[in-house]
Amino acid sequence: MMSYEVVGITVLWSFLYGYLIVASVDFGAGFFSYYSKATKKNHVIHNIIQRYLSPVWEITNVFLVFFFIGIVGFFPSTAYYYGTALLVPGSIAIILLALRGSYYAFATYGAKESKFYSFLYGATGLLIPASLTTVLTISEGGYISNENGTVELLYRDLFTSPYSWSVVILAIVSVLFISATFLTFYASRAQDTNALKLLRKYALTWSLPSIVMGVIVLMLLRAQNIEHYQNILDIWWVFAISFVLFAVATFLIWKGKKYGTAFILIMVQYLTAFFGYGVSHFPYLLYPYLTIYDGFTSEPMAIALIIAFIGGLFLLIPSLLLIMKLFLFDADYVQGKRK
């Protein structure tokens, strides 16, 4: 029987993984949309991106909200540590998310297209993942001081740390890779050959950098948190599986076939790597101050949250399937024959 602490962190980590995938698709799409506009290839992929993003953008956001509200419910002490330390990066992330979400809606529903909107949409698509990954970076320890009862973020250490920058680059590269592979799949379903060609090229461009950055982050982690690094080496096979999935998926895309399978493999690639990272981080929420066993919520609250979570899933899964059926798997809709 898993302890409540482990159930709690697994639930939250799964939501964060969900956010990683759906948000990456969204963020990357924003960037590609802007980039293709700037390079005058706009007409090729614009429709594909619009058709996918329009119905789902809010849902993406909710995954994130789930995570940060859920973590306060299960692990209230995280509010104290991370809340105090992350005032500035957290606020910047909020501002970027706010600009992105609202200007996307303004551009999509509010009549006219504008260069400024699309620039904002593209730029925030790269800046948001960069700012959000700060949380994972500081969880490794060494970037927070906890003296005289006050928690402070050490900005200089954060900004001069090679590890922190490598994580930022990994995040951006991964966003572009995940997004490009999804959009390749979507374009192939829409039977839009021009878009497919371009997006497939993007996907292949970002495949190798994503894996190289993964290795670099691992190397730099050694200097940052040797304990975590050792734990990763202990479960090296998880990352080996992840790599194999990556290789097969990239091969399929390169060969130009089975884009759907390729995207699923890449989702599983990130799933294994993300959970491998999470398990090796265990039991720390914030190294070395906070583990999942410190200040865990009370048992009645944990049970209530888990019941609410299961009840919620019964509501959400059918709804999500419905929206996917209507917009993602409805060939007529994807091909633009239906409004």
């Binding site: 809010e58 909710v62 104290y80 809606a105 303004f106 609250m301």
Partner: protein, 456 residues
Amino acid sequence: MFIDYDPVIYSRLLTSLTLGFHVIFATIGVGVPLMIAIAEWMGIKRNDPHYTLMARRWARGFVITVAVGVVTGTAIGLQLSLLWPNFMQAAGHTIGLPMFMEVFAFFFEAIFLGIYLYTWDRFKTKMRHFLLVIPIVIGATASAFFITTVNSFMNAPQGFNIVDGILTDVSPLAAMFNAATPTKISHVIITCYLTAAFILGAIAAFHILKGNKHVYHKKALHLTMVSGIIFAIGTALIGDLSGKYLHEYQPEKLASAEWHLETESGAPLILGGFINDENEISYALEIPYALSILAGGTPDTEVIGLNEFPEEDLPPLWIHYMFDSMVFIGMFLAAVSALFVAMNWKKNWNAFNRPLLWAVVAGGPLSMLAIESGWFFAEVGRQPWIINGVMRTAEGATTSQHVDLMLYLFIILYAVLGITVVVVLRRMFKSNPIEHELEERGFAHKKEDEKEVARR
């Protein structure tokens, strides 16, 4: 003005700013789906394309406000942890459940809103599309329900014990269903509906005043005012119960709002006026016995006065004005909608006369002002506590530097969002007036329609 840096003050200012801005969109977000549902339902029942178009247009404007509601909701969700880490630590232990469930409710709503917006012409029957709005209404109202239980908890905390500074014996359901929950939830939800009705009504009235003769606007005004009077009566009844709740559980808040200085029975209600440092009231209107009736239902109810509380446990007395404006506006909205419905019902009276139309137009922004006043009253009236009687606001706040800088950044952000949302909404509806849209959808303007409504 120069204030020494104090993270508590800046955290309070930034939270007020975010909540004050968010609540505009949250209120619309809770109230408007119900109005859309009513309009779409009428469109099907009466087989009237005007109502269907109404639902479509409201939904189109709605989604813009939802976007701002979502992003500012995300902002406040994160800001609570960033600005009030100690409070959120305590809240996570005690009242984390409804916060978590609120996200589920919103998730549910977001999914169906995405489907609803893009499937107007996709189903065989109109009824099937109507069914999609129901989860949106439920999700929106459930969001309000869950998040208001958190606010209720802050006013009437229960469902835990504190032993040597440690929270124990937590009961999430007891915390959620506290003494403040019934009145607070019903008050918040019904006033969202009322405000939504008046904002949409104000738009219709404004078009009529501008000389637009299309029957669409008359139908919209009639629909919103009939809804408005129902919600206004509900608001008044629930408001009365809220007064009784305060009397029972937060007498210091009631006494501060009403400038009720000494404990007494047969207490008068003080409206408006000024109060000086010696607590002398001038220029106020006094209604004999009214406070006793509000508090306990009878004129001889004894109402506890400010004299019974140490000054450091009392909120600032300016919340009196917040309370008064909320109540005044509520009564104004009830009167306007009642008058409209009554005049429309009498065949030989003209409900569409200019003074009444202007009153409806004023009702739109005023209803939002009442929402703001109500929330400022609720929040400032709970001071100096963040969790009433358990944690003082200053104890809950962050100790971080730079909260002031964040405040300035967010002022700019909300100004930019606020301006753009207005510009976008105006452009959206100006470039596509109803006449044009009806024609586009194959329903030309029929003269008979107008006569028929005039007769009704």
